[in-house]
Subunit: 159 residues, 3 copies
C-alpha cells in the first residue's frame, strides 16, 4: 500500500552539499510526520564513517580506497568549487553565519527523529567498510530492502 | 491526494547539461497538461541569476562565492568535459546545429507554460543571493513547501 | 493507472559507479517481478556504445565529442577518484574480489530479464550517435515516451 507519509532517499553521493540536501529533505519530512528511510551507498557511505581511524581487516585495494576517502561528515568536500577542501571550509563558514545547521547536527537530528539510516552492504563490501567503522544506529541491508521500502513510499529520490 | 498530472523536480545542479535535462522534462510534462513545480537549490540557483551584475549587500564570503559562480543560464558549464568552458561552447554549437532549443529558450517556455519555479530561500541565504539578483517570475520558499508539493505529485526527481 | 510493479530510471550519468547503481536497482526490481524501463540520455548514452569504432556520418563537432567520450560499458570512469582511469580499474578489481557482478554482466542480465532500455533520440542527435553505434536490443524514443511511462510507475529515479 502506498503511504502518504513515507519517503525514501538513496544517498549515493558523498559530497558535503548533496549530503546536506539529503538530510535537510529527510529531516523536513520527518518533522512533518513522515516515515523516512535513507539508503547510503557507494560514496554516500563516507558520510557515515567515524572520524577516528578504526583498525579493520581489508584487502590492499580496500585499504587504499579507505585511506583516500574522507572519514565522516566533518571531512567531506563540495561537489563543485571544492579547491582541495577550501571551498568546503568556506561553505561551512557561510552556513554558520547564516545559522544553517551543520551536517553533523543534521545527522544527529535525523537519528533523534527516528529516520531509518541504512548502509548498503554490497557497497560496504566493495569499499571494505566494516560495521565498526561506521557511526552507531545504522541498519544494514541491500537493494531488495530498498525496493521494498520504495514501493511503500510516495516520494523516492536519488541524490 | 495524488495527482496524475503533477510533477516536481529539485534542480540542485547548476550544470548546463543537467539544467537542460530538467527543463526538457519539465516542459514536456507541462505540454502534456501536467502541473509542474521546479525547486532550485544550491548550485541550481545559478541558473536563475540575471546575467548582469546586481549590487546587493553580502558578507565577504558570499561576495566571493557569488563572484566565482556563473551568472545565469548563458554562462553555465558542463558537468563533464567542460574544459574551462570550451565544452559548453561546443555543446551549444552542436545543439544549434541539431535545432535543439537553448536553455534560455527552455526557461522562457517554462514560464509561458506556467511552470512554477521556486528558489530555495535557505540556499539563497547561504549563497548570498538576493531576490533582485534572480530572474523575474520566481516564487520563494523552503523545504516544507517542496515536501507539500511532492506529496501531491506522482513523479518527483532530484537533478 | 499507477502500477506497483513498474519502475523507471533516467540514466543521465555515464560514470561507471552511477551506471552500476542504476543497473543494480533495475535488475533488483526486475528480479522481484517489476516492469522496469531505463531511459539513457546525455552521458548515459556512452554506457550503450559498442566497444568497437563504427563508421557513421557526423558533423565535425559530433566527431570530436564521440572521439573524446568512452566507447561503452568497459571504458567508463568513476564520478570521483578516477585519476585518469586508475580509479575505475581499481574499483573493478575490488569488485571482482568481492564477487560483484561487472557492469557488462549487469547489462546482459537486464536484457535477459526483459528490462526495457530506451536511448533518448534527442541526445543521440546532439552527441551524433547513430543506432548502429549502440548495443543491440534498444528502443529509441523521446521525453514524451518517458513521461508516459513515469506516469504508470511508482518509483522514478534520475541517476
Amino acid at each position: 500500500m502506498e503511504n502518504k507519509t513515507k519517503k525514501t532517499i538513496i544517498v549515493f553521493s558523498g559530497d558535503l552539499d548533496k549530503a546536506m540536501a539529503a538530510f535537510i529533505i529527510a529531516n523536513g519530512a520527518a518533522a512533518m510526520g513522515d516515515e523516512v528511510t535513507m539508503f547510503f551507498t557507494f560514496w554516500g557511505l563516507n558520510i557515515l564513517r567515524k572520524a577516528q581511524k578504526i583498525r579493520a581487516k581489508k584487502s590492499f585495494l580496500q585499504g587504499m580506497f579507505g585511506g583516500m576517502m574522507p572519514r565522516g561528515a566533518g571531512r567531506l568536500g563540495l561537489s563543485k568549487m571544492n579547491f582541495g577542501g577550501m571551498g568546503a571550509k568556506m561553505m561551512k563558514m557561510v552556513m554558520k553565519q547564516q545559522n544553517v545547521t551543520s551536517l553533523e547536527e543534521l545527522i544527529a537530528t535525523a537519528k533523534e527523529q527516528g529516520i531509518k539510516m541504512v548502509a548498503c552492504t554490497m557497497s560496504m563490501g566493495v569499499m571494505g567498510f566494516k560495521e565498526e567503522e561506521l557511526i552507531d544506529g545504522l541498519e544494514f541491508a541491500g537493494v531488495a530492502s530498498y525496493l521494498g521500502e520504495a514501493d511503500e513510499a510516495n516520494v523516492n529520490l536519488f541524490i
